[in-house]
């Protein structure tokens, strides 16, 4: 399979601190890939570079063979790279439905229409509701987003990403703070999405059982550098990963 997204020597430094250091990363089309690494390893920063929130100081990013290193976040989303945020990032004073509808609208390419009434796009509304029900949030459709409980906001975050229907989904700890009972269901949704369409998923998580369950391959970041890349088995047997990241926690489960 073709690599859909590829970085070479991708680097960014904040002051003296190199948060992402010459990372060469590939993800293949339709792959489910996870990124793990200690806190502060540079995972979120790496996502920020991929999605354009930050500009790389060195290296480049190829998306389907095209160099997108200098593109704005807007353009990258339009090209097909969508992401969710680790720290919940929604429109606090809009309703849950409106939040998702904005994503649907962007996906539909209705961006500069200033003369028709938004209600004339009924399908947006319906689609937004659909996405919401997929993450079990349809009951809260008319709630102002800032009034959601933390776990519910996480779900909204996911719904907004899904609604963009991008080819690549970058998920930054989507289930952090989500209640244990619902995590499997949400994962099921993500899996289904991947199955249905031609979707590539990159997931950042700290929940190892979840990662092992889902991932086709895993990349380990450590101190901004790419430490390892391989199948789940390979990674779990990597000793450095064990000591630096897992702290012996998953010793047994790996075997």
């Amino acid at each position: 399979m073709e690599p859909i997204l590829q970085t070479s020597d991708l680097t960014i430094a904040f002051g003296g601190h190199i948060a992402v250091n010459k990372v060469n990363f590939t993800v293949k089309e339709n792959e489910f890939k996870s990124i793990i690494g200690p806190n502060g390893a540079g995972k979120t920063t790496f996502f920020n570079l991929l999605s354009g929130q930050l500009q790389a100081s060195e290296g480049n990013i190829l998306f389907k063979g095209e160099d997108i290193t200098k593109l704005s976040p807007t353009m990258r989303t339009r090209k097909g790279i969508g992401r969710s945020f680790q720290i919940t990032n929604v429109f606090p004073n809009l309703t849950v439905l409106e939040n998702v509808r904005l994503a649907v609208q962007s996906q539909a390419g209705v961006r500069y229409n200033m003369l028709s009434h938004f209600l004339s796009f009924r399908s947006f509304q319906d689609k937004a509701l659909e996405w919401l029900s997929m993450v079990f949030l349809d009951e809260k459709a008319n709630v102002i987003a800032k009034n959601l409980a933390h776990g519910e906001k996480r779900k909204l975050e996911i719904a907004m990403l899904l609604a963009l229907e991008t080819e690549i989904l970058l998920l930054d700890e989507p289930t952090a703070g989500m209640s244990i009972e619902e995590v499997p269901a949400i994962l099921e949704v993500i899996k289904n999405i991947k199955k249905q369409g031609n979707r590539t998923i990159v997931l950042i998580e700290h929940k190892m059982d979840m990662i092992l369950d889902l991932s086709e391959s895993i990349t380990v970041l450590f101190n901004g550098k790419l430490l390892a890349d391989g199948t789940p088995e390979e990674i779990m047997n990597n000793e450095t990963v064990q000591t630096a990241y897992l702290g012996g926690l998953y010793d047994e489960s790996a075997s």
Binding site: S179, E181, H206
Partner: protein, 235 residues
Amino acid sequence: MKALLKVEQLQTYIEQYHILHDIHLQAMEGEVTVLLGRNGAGKTTTLRSIMGLNQPRSGKVIFQEAEIQGKAPFEIANLGIGYVPEDQGIFGELTVEENMKVAMQKQDDETLKRLDWILNLFPDLKTFWKKAGGHLSGGQKQMLSIARAYVNNSKLLLIDEPSKGLAPIVVEKVMESIEEMKKETTIVLVEQNFYMASTIGDTFYIIDDGKTVHNGKMEELKEDEVLRKRYLGIA
């Protein structure tokens, strides 16, 4: 053993919404009490109501035999109650150092010793001592938030989902640190990570739709698969 904190028939409204209907709980001195429940059940609101950040409409919050509901949050904090909010509450434009400084109620040797202990627990904070809190990684923010609560000699700590965003190795450390804190401090914990909750928790309460619906010793819950399935959806 006596209860350091008692919550009785707590009802809380946020604006016009009735969020907590009937919360009961007791936190025994020297124990870790864990609040469990699905998203939106009211766990966070319970902690906030104890802290005075949401004013309860009725019911009692009793800390060390005295009623504290209706007091201002800073008064409650000054009684010796520390709080780790679920959104971390980092002062983004302040450095890690300044975040800690704001939190430190005293500058005495004991506090400084504790600070040392914390910085050994979370070396990342030491590394990024002069960095703006807002520029930390998600997990580092979580560490900072915990650190701010640890630095004072609190009698009671209310901790809202400490493990979220933390690498497994750090979760381990936090668990160890809670074990350590337990010697002097009583802890009320909201936690979705059942592994962590069940390992360090002594007592549990399950909250559903703003009510405490079940409680007991953690051992019971670990053994009672039916109960777990019913309230937590896990086997």
